[in-house]
Structures are given as structure tokens and as C-alpha cells.
Symmetry: none
Subunit: 231 residues, 4 copies
């Protein structure tokens, strides 16, 4: 029984080792140059062993993406509670993102891998897709759209705003920022510089979403006192 458990644990650990090695390599040299050989070498395993845990390269990338998205969602969830206003949710989303972004590279990986797996494919395609291959990414999208709709309903955002376009725009922005960050070397990745840039960008876009004439102070994501109440 103890053995059973230990086995299970070790197996999970190995899986994690492999995924982590892959992630590190992705951060270090880009998804494009990621090879099974490389992962094997870094994980100090034989190539064949990789195939014991994952049925192919594509699967590894998918898992990385999914796992990162899952982790992100987990970190983010506590910030999203029921009964709060849309703007408040938006702020929480942003803060969750900042927290997450400051703590790990998950989000960088999500975007980089995803862009590799589906090159050039936007997060929300203009052409409807039947089945998303990525439930967690899907969840992120849905969540964001819900928040935007709520903001519209609360009279904060322009009622004519196309929510789906808005979702796409926000996520594209995140993706760009992240890609930008991923190109930076080493520690500088998580610098204030990048977060500043992202905050500014996020702010500009939200301002663009806002209903004309509204007091922008209630949309101020930098101020901790912003409470989402329309003025």
C-alpha cells in the first residue's frame, strides 16, 4: 500500500520532472527549438522513457499548456467571488494576473506554447471552432467575457462594445506582453518595467471599453481603492 502510493507519487513526480524540463527549455530557447532529445537530455532520461509518460511531443506541449492554464486558473479563482461588481472582478482578474505573473513563468509558457501549437491562431478565432482542444484556456476566455458583459450591464462599459472582440483584444494584449517578457533574459523578466507596461496597456484598453463620459477614476486599476462603482 505504501509502495503503491510511493509508486504513484514517483510516477507523478517523473511526469512533472519531464514537463518542468520541457518548460525550462521552452523558456530558455523557445518552443520552436524544443526537441524530445533535448527534454530527454535535460531530464537525464532516455528518449524512450519520455514516451512512457507522454505519447508524443504534441501531447507534452498540450499538457504543458493545459497544466499552466490550470495553475493560472487556480491562482486566479480566489479573486473571483460571486456578488461583486464587474469592475471589481476585472480588478481582481488583473491582480491575479500580476500575482501570478510575478510568481511563476506559467503564463509565459501558456502563451508561447499555445502560439506554437496553433501558430497564428488567435485565442478567440473569428471563425467559430467546434471544439476547443483546451478546456482550461476556454475557461479563461469564458470568464473574461462574463466579466465584460457584466461591466456592460452595470453601465460602466459602452453598451455597444462587442464583448467577444473585447475579450480577444484583452487576451491578445496579455499574449503580446507575455511574449515580450519571454524574450527578456533572466530575472529582468519579472521587472517592474514589464508590469508597468502591462498595467498601462490594460488601463488604456479598459478606458477604451468604457462608456463615453464616465468617470475614469472608477476604472483605475492602479488604485487599490477603485471599487467599480460608477460615478
Amino acid at each position: 500500500m505504501g509502495i503503491q502510493e510511493r509508486r504513484e507519487r514517483e510516477k507523478t513526480e517523473r511526469r512533472m520532472t519531464i514537463l518542468n524540463c520541457a518548460k525550462e527549455l521552452i523558456l530558455a530557447q523557445g518552443v520552436e527549438r524544443l526537441s524530445m532529445d533535448g527534454i530527454a537530455r535535460k531530464a537525464e532520461l532516455s528518449k524512450a522513457t519520455l514516451y512512457l509518460y507522454f505519447s508524443g511531443k504534441e501531447v507534452i506541449l498540450n499538457e504543458i499548456c493545459e497544466e499552466s492554464a490550470r495553475i493560472f486558473l487556480e491562482h486566479f479563482k480566489p479573486f473571483l467571488e460571486t456578488g461583486i461588481t464587474g469592475v471589481k472582478a476585472l480588478l481582481h482578474f488583473w491582480r491575479g494576473y500580476v500575482k501570478q505573473f510575478g510568481n511563476s513563468d506559467e503564463i509565459i509558457i501558456i502563451f508561447r506554447v499555445r502560439n506554437f501549437l496553433y501558430p497564428g491562431q488567435p485565442f478567440v478565432s473569428l471563425q467559430k471552432q467546434k471544439h476547443s482542444k483546451s478546456p482550461f484556456l476556454e475557461t479563461i476566455l469564458t470568464t473574461m467575457k462574463t466579466i465584460i458583459d457584466q461591466c456592460k450591464a452595470e453601465g460602466i462599459f459602452d453598451p455597444n462594445l462587442d464583448s467577444e472582440m473585447a475579450t480577444r483584444l484583452l487576451l491578445s494584449m496579455f499574449s503580446s506582453s507575455v511574449d515580450n517578457a519571454a524574450r527578456m533574459s533572466g530575472e529582468s523578466k519579472k521587472t517592474k518595467l514589464l508590469l508597468d507596461e502591462m498595467r498601462k496597456t490594460f488601463q488604456v484598453i479598459i478606458n477604451g471599453f468604457a462608456r463615453e463620459g464616465i468617470d475614469r477614476s472608477c476604472l483605475d486599476i492602479s488604485s487599490p481603492s477603485a471599487d467599480g462603482r460608477a460615478g
Copy 2:
């Protein structure tokens, strides 16, 4: 010397042939699947010959990007005349883009190749780069920044707006849209759908750039009568 000249001219023509074939292939099947083999076959040259004109695949891609940017700038220039207001310039920029986008595929190529060459690298890195590898892309950026600065000076845009961030945001948006378009099949590429999406996005961002309280009608890029005069 006549001979010398003819030689020179032929050489240039050859170069162009190669680049054009590469472009067509990129449009037809994506940068990812572009191979020296393919270019050689299409150009009806031997692979070895390609190396007489370009020192490698990377260089070809770079040149393609540059050349497309140059062409884009040429088309765009007439819309940018001195003595007009910033907003008007912005509208011209947008119209130039729409025109360009409806008329040729240069812009698709610019973004797709660039994204392939520097995957995930934003157009304007947050980290200053010593030497831009792409003078023409640089020019596009500079132009846009100039316009934004002008809009700020004219009181249309938020005086606190970070012009460089704004430039990056605009270009990221364009890039995303183009990638999205490139995923669409055939003629649908240039459909109203995409242009609509782009227009909406552009509009939202500009609205976000605007000074608080300003009348948004003067920023309406869909209205041909918008003249950039602040209300």
C-alpha cells in the same frame, strides 16, 4: 560599363524573383513550411543558386520582411502629408492600412515572417535594442509614434499617455489581426468580417488613448467626416 550595368540589373531582378517566389509560397502555405527547396523549385533555380544571392534562409526571410515594410510605407506615405492634424493623420494611417490590406498581401507577409523570425518578439521590445535589424519596420514605428505624439500635443489624446506603449499596442493589435486573417482560407481573408474586427479594435484603442471627457465623435474612424478637430 553597359555590360556592368546590365549585370547589376539582372542580379537585382534575380533577387526580386527569389523574394517574390518566397512571398507567394508564404502566402500559400505559411512561413513554417517554407523551405529552400520550395523556393528554388518555384523560382526555377537550383538551391545552390539561392545561396549566391542570399547567404541563408534567415536572410531571405529578413529581406522579405524589409521589402514588404518598404512597400507598405510607400503606399502609406501619400496619406501622410505635413500640415494635417494628428487625428487626421491617424485616420489616414488607418485608411492606408485598409487600402493596403485590401490591395496586397504585403502586410500579411510582414507580420507572419516577422513572427516566425522572432517568435514572440514584440515589435518594439521593452528593452532598447542597439541596432534594429529592420530599418523599415523602424520607420513604421517612428511614424506612428510621431502621430500619437502629435495627437497628444493637440489635446486629443491623454497627455499622460505613454507614446511608446501606445505604439506597441497599436502594432500588436495589427499583428494579431493579420495573424487571424492569415488563418482564414483563401478569399475570405479580406472579408468585411476581418476589417470590421480591426476597425472596432482600432476604435476601442484610440478611445482608450483619448483624453478623458473628450467628444469621441471626433475620433470616429468609420465616419469619413471626422476631421480630427477637437470639439
Copy 3:
């Protein structure tokens, strides 16, 4: 010792399980695609365990072949009693084959595995082999040769007929037919079509074996009344 015996019995059972799983897989997907992995999965054992019972894949295949031949012989034996004429024995052989072929897949396995193990190797090599690797196959051969010799002695077959060649020819024919059958999908395997083909072929060959001028009716394998008495 009871324990000893049980152990022994269990070991034999395990061996059988493994062999049977392998057989089923062979019938389902062909020898070519048989893998140790597959056997282990089907037998619900670990691959390593297979090696406790058999020293390698080749050995498993050999045993399968042998065991199938043994089973075939067992089914066939009752049809072969002493005191009957050679032709009658031949008819019994044929009927035993038909019965066997209609009732189980052993014979398919014998030939397919054998052909895989020794691709292109005839059942009876022209070159004498010191030690037959397959005693049971050897028995089948011997039996058949005995029958043929008897037919010769009884004046039914051409006295100049080379009995060994004749044996080889008959078995090759069976092998071909079986291979043909194995290519057919599912139930159609045992259709009248195949048995017809085999009967015709068997008949032609026997006719070829016959002494010149003999009345072929006594060799008619389709007629149940043929009794092997020369007219």
C-alpha cells in the same frame, strides 16, 4: 509436494495464458504486428513476466507454432486409423483438415507464425536439417508422407512419384490457402469460397499424383462415397 504440484500446474497455466493471448492477437492483427507489449497487455501481465516464462519473442512464436501443430494433430488423429487404405486415409486427412479449418484457427496460426519465423522457408527444406526445430510439424509431415507412400504401394499413385516432393507440394498448397484465408476479413475467412478453392487445388494435385490411366473417380475427394478402391 501438493504445493509443488500446484506451483507446477499454475506455471503451466500461465504459459498457456500467454500463448493463447498471443494467438488471439495474431489472429486479430497478424504476426507482423505482434509485440511483447501487446501480449503483456492482453495477458494482463507485465512484459518482464513474459520473460520469466519464455526467453524471448522468437521462442513464444515457436511454441505457438508447435502447440497449434500438436492440437491439429490431435484433432486429426482419430481420422487416421490403421487398416484403412491410403486413399481413404487421404480423404480422412482432407476431411480432418476441413473440419479443423472450420472449427478452429489453429491451422491459420501454424502457417502464419511459421511463415513469419522462417520467411520463405518451406516446410520441408530441400536441404536436410539436422534437428528439426519443430517435432510436431515434423510429425504432420511424416504422417502425410506415410499416406502417400501407402497410396503408391496400393497402385493408386504413380510409382515414380517422389513422396517427399509430394508432401512438400501438398503442404505448400495448404500454406498458401491459409495465407489467403488469413487475409480475408472476419467471418468470411471460413467461407465456402476458400474451402472450394482448397478442395479444387487438393483435387488437382491428387490427380497429378495419380498413376496414369487410373479412374479418377476413386480419388474424388468431394464425393463421400469414394472409398479408395482402385477400379
Copy 4:
């Protein structure tokens, strides 16, 4: 021009070199163990070069098979003239085969490779196939069936003989013999022993084809005087 021709010739020669190396390896160690690596090593070429000449392993095997069948047909053709009786044609076919078989290994390769490409698939499947992938093999089959039909028409063969079955039987026999030969080591391959076996087998089968009561001497393939005239 001379250069053009020389190039062409050299290219053909390379192709031949590759095919010949493959053939030698097949004869030496069986099709099963043939690998692109092996061919490359034997041909003293890089693996990549093989792909310049053949688009894959399967293609190489197919070409080998086709080419060998073509060579066989060429050697065989002179023996098949119009206006001869069916039996005479049959004798010629046999002699062509013997000649060919005594002279080269082509025929061994045909059968071994074919058996590998289409494992267990008889030359003439009981299930009709839409398109033969092998025009030359097809020709061999057609030729043989034509001869058999002619023999039936001439009253030599049993009018009830199923010509297609007969063709299958003959070819199976050849295939078996050849496989047998291929297993023999070195020079013994072409020994009288094997040819004797084949002759005997061929004779028995033809006797089996014969109409009942016919004088078998006219079917004697060993006698050079047999002239195919029914007695």
C-alpha cells in the same frame, strides 16, 4: 550535351547501384532486415542521398520487385511466340523460367520482396482487387492464364479446370520453390537439386491439370521432344 547525357547516365547508374545494393542485402539477410541505413552503408552513400533517388523505403522495394519482374518478362518473352500450341507455350514458359532461374537471382527477389510488401497475400487473391500495384507481375499472371486457357481449348487440359485457380496454384508453387532456394546458402542455390524439385512439382501439377485419359507423354516437360500435340 555530352554533359547532359553523362549526367543522365550517371543518375541511372546511381539508381541501379542503390537498387542493386538493396537486392544484395535482401539476398544476404532477407527483406525483413533491410534498412535504409543498411542500403546507404552498402552503397557508400548518405541516407539522405537515397531519398534523392527514391521517395522512401516502400518505393525502393516496389521498384526492385517491378524491375525484377520486368527483367524476367524480357528473358521470357522470346520463348513465347504466336502460333504455338498451349502445351508448347507451357514448356517454353518452364524453360524460360529455368533459364532465368539458373542465371540470376531476380526471381528470388521478386517473390521475397513481394511477400514482404504484401505479407500473406497470394499472387492472385481470391478477393478481386481493383488495381494491381504491379503491372509486370500482372502481366506474368495474365500470360500464364492465357496459356492454361489455350491448353483447355486444345483438349489437353480438363475442360472443367478452373483456370484462375490453376494459375494461382502454379504461381504458388513457383513462389514456394523460390523461397526454398532463397534459404539455401550461396551457390547451392542454383543446384540441380532445386531445379529437379521444381521440375517434378511442375510436372505433377500439369498432370493434375490434364484431361482424364490423355497420354501424359505429350505433357512431359523434361523431354525436349514433347511438342504439345495431343495423342
